[in-house]
Assembly symmetry: C2
């Protein structure tokens, strides 16, 4: 591993290097001043695109799509061509980690993920193991390698994983929940068991993210989707401490983003992590977050529902957001993933406005 | 209506007045120093009590229970006897308002509320009207009058209503939602229609809360359960402005509490409302909230899941919470409603700890 990572050059598969033509997001994530604000969208590869829905219809389900590297690569690249985003994000699911650890899941139409087996007691822990990315998650790594080849250096590729608390909550609850009271109950009633499982998830995630980087991911993001359900004290003990381990253990030459949805109360602590970028949801005031986040790059944070508005309204809201973030240290995105019924034209309007207006802002 | 409301005396039905023996919560809500911190719990009348489940089993469903004043009064009083709380809260549902406005609902087992008809367009507005509390919600008012008689002045009775944005979201979505994207979409795409419906809900709610006060409610609470789903700008425009109307229009002799779950970003603005008490959820840091809330009384905010812990852990967490709030200007509660599978003994432990420790704190 080279001590100083050569700027603008990305190592793939330890076998060859390739220039990234549009490396705007990498330069921004490293704190450089850039000619405009980079933009990508959470869930940009997905149901809003008819081209995605066509590929999705060719397989039995979402999980099969994730597990078929050629198709995962194809849908990963679609938004680069169709929307003009400044980064691709590998098409996958945060729930591949519990599956690789020994808890398979299904996706139930209109209901979401369902785990037939969950962790409730000490003895259930025997049914799970720390995942080894190369042997357990080879299909994701293969999808990354294929995507890198097909992207051919046009834009960087983002890898990702769920944060340990979020993964833990699915492994206990067995699916989504309004209150996550089963998962939270375990933190209160079985803290040692909780810590053991969280550590296994953390070790699996470190292996997984480093393997994604070795396979070619140019930056990585950790998604703590259910951060906002914990009290500030529990968030520190059961969530942030594990994200901290991940940030410290993964390959430091690749920029890291932490997005803890709803954890407004932890912004100052998150800003002390060994990461480059902090994701904001749409509830978090931009200027206040800037103060709390110190020198970190911020990512976000338009309300996804704003893209239901008229083109004029989208332009207006996007400019207001860009003005609040200012020209530097910002990666434009939404405050959450795209919703499936948003129109591609409206999404493009957001992206185009970011590109045009953020260029103007620098003049 | 008397210009100066006589302290410690409550007017019922304009026909007679009655002393409240334990008026601790009323004195605290009015800013007085008290001998200990008052305590009650959101959803204290409900499934955690076997005595409630017995009454519930005697009728066809939750909605029938709400609509049967004798039974609603009975379950309202149960936690006063069984848990030792310092206030009763009338057993009802925030969704009685959409029903009174012309949108009936059902409660689907394990799924929650379901509205067969919803508001999507201008023409749907013809199907709803501003509710008149006396004619449309007489059963709640009758339950309040019965409860007041049976309470016989032991503790004050709290009335309540949902905040307009929360009620609106159910009327658009037709039920619960993870993202409330339909309701939010309407705010972005049909702001005028949204404001018209929000105004109708607001007018209905003002009529309803004033009628509850006339029927005997000693204080009232406005629940904005889905406050946290809106951006700060939308929260001001589509939520807070209507809560402001309500606070200004209801009978000012009765203390008013506003609980906007998840609206951490609006605490400062909420503290400017014409209300006495601000509810906090468990995500909201107590000392920070104290600074933001100025002179307001605060209510809350232990994580309901903390009551899954051991008795020792519950005592410890409750004391930590009381220390953070300090002895004055605090009404002890949870940061959300009780979950149905919590044990009454654990709930009692929270209540008893509040009573004992807050008495000690004043010595």
């Amino acid at each position: 591993m080279p001590a100083a990572f050569p700027k603008f050059r990305i190592q793939i598969d330890n076998s060859y290097t390739m220039s990234i033509q549009n490396d705007l997001i990498l330069r921004t994530a490293r704190g450089e001043k850039t000619e405009r604000t980079p933009v990508w969208l959470m869930r940009q590869a997905g149901r809003i695109l008819p081209e995605y829905r066509k590929v999705r219809a060719s397989v039995s389900g979402f999980i099969e799509l994730c597990q078929t590297p050629e198709l995962a690569a194809e849908v990963t690249i679609q938004p680069v061509d169709l929307l003009g985003v400044d980064a691709a994000i590998i098409f996958s699911d945060i729930l591949v980690i519990p599956e690789a650890m020994g808890l398979p899941y299904e996706l139930v139409e209109k209901k979401g993920p369902f785990f037939p087996n969950t962790i409730q007691t000490e003895s259930d822990l025997k049914n799970v193991r720390t995942a080894d990315a190369e042997s357990d998650l080879g299909y994701v790594l293969e999808a990354i390698r294929l995507t890198k080849k097909e992207l051919n250096g046009r834009v960087p590729l983002i890898g990702f994983a769920g944060a340990p608390w979020t993964i833990f909550s699915y492994m206990i609850e067995g699916g989504g929940s309004k209150t996550f009271s089963k998962a939270k109950k375990m933190l209160y009633t079985q803290p040692e068991l909780s810590h053991r499982l969280l550590q296994m998830i953390t070790d699996s995630t470190i292996s997984y993210l480093n393997a994604q980087i070795n396979a070619g991911a140019d930056m990585v993001q950790v998604f703590d989707s259910w951060a906002g359900i914990l009290s500030p004290a529990q968030y520190e003990t059961f969530a942030l401490s594990y994200i901290r381990q991940i940030c410290n253990a993964i390959n430091q030459e690749v920029p890291v983003t932490v997005f803890a949805k709803g954890a407004f109360f932890a912004r100052e602590e998150i800003s002390k992590l060994n990461c480059n970028t902090i994701g904001l949801d749409w509830n978090m005031d931009i200027k206040e977050s800037r103060k709390l986040a110190g020198k970190k790059i911020l990512q976000g944070n338009l309300d996804p529902c704003a893209l239901y508005g008229s083109f004029d309204e989208i332009r207006k809201q996007t400019k207001t957001m860009l003005d609040a973030f200012g020209p530097d240290k910002h990666i434009a995105n939404l405050g959450h993933g795209l919703y499936p019924d948003l129109q591609p034209d409206k999404v493009r309007c957001f992206i185009d406005t970011v590109k045009e207006y953020s260029t103007q802002m620098r003049k």
